[in-house]
Symmetry: C2
Subunit: 145 residues, 2 copies
């Protein structure tokens, strides 16, 4: 559903949302806890920072933190920089033009379903997910593999 990169981004944002938001977290710290390739995550977080979702600090004692409160970050925002299918590609058959007035054969039935997916990403916030179970990812035990 989501690209690997978008999934990393979402997991990181959720991770930061579950922790204290006024402290900085290092990439190496996040990467290890989430079991994600470190250098790759570094670039992904940089993209999230460019998108205004994270704030980065360089140098010693640098790191990343959320820019906004979790309840004000939608999943669509998080996923958007990584081609998340949050509603852009509506037409199931790949038509460049597919609308109510110029519909493809699947338009009528697919519109409702794709609309629900789109709505989910647009209206669900990171804060909403925090209310769910197991929001806090347990830290890996040292040496665990």
């Amino acid at each position: 559903m989501l690209s690997q990169t978008a999934e990393y981004a979402l997991r990181t944002v959720l991770y930061l949302a579950a922790e204290k938001q006024d402290t900085l977290f290092r990439v190496s710290e996040i990467a290890e806890d989430l079991d994600v390739p470190r250098n790759y995550l570094s670039k992904t977080l940089h993209q999230l920072a460019k998108a205004g979702i994270l704030t980065s600090s360089r140098g010693k004692h640098g790191g990343f933190r959320l820019t906004k409160a979790p309840s004000r970050i939608t999943l669509a925002e998080v996923v958007a920089p990584f081609n998340g299918p949050t509603g852009a590609r509506i037409c199931l058959l790949g038509r460049t033009a597919c609308s109510d007035s110029d519909p493809c054969p699947a338009h009528g039935k697919w519109k409702r379903v794709s609309g629900e997916v789109s709505t989910f990403f647009r209206e669900t916030t990171v804060g909403d997910l925090l209310e769910g179970p197991a929001a806090r990812v347990p830290r890996k035990r040292a040496g665990a593999r």
Copy 2:
């Protein structure tokens, strides 16, 4: 939403469903009408034949046709050989284990939406789409590009 290949497959099945089902259609014919790479489509149709959705005939006067009636072919069947997200990947966060009893933070809210997508593919048939508008793709004019 769908991979390019799955989209080609679906469009081809829809194309064949809209035509007479007892006649054979050549790959070159389909590829031109749908504006899809010919040799690539050839392999895709071969996969659909292996999946039992199409029947292929080799040699002169060969081609492809639907094996079953359109109303008995679900979209999930068509898309399945091409990694269609018809419900396999349920967990939004990529957890290998994510269920009601061991849920990820997004499980509760995402389950409903992903379930609707899955249901759409499982319960919608090619015949259902034929009832929609513009099921018949207009043939391209000769020389049109």
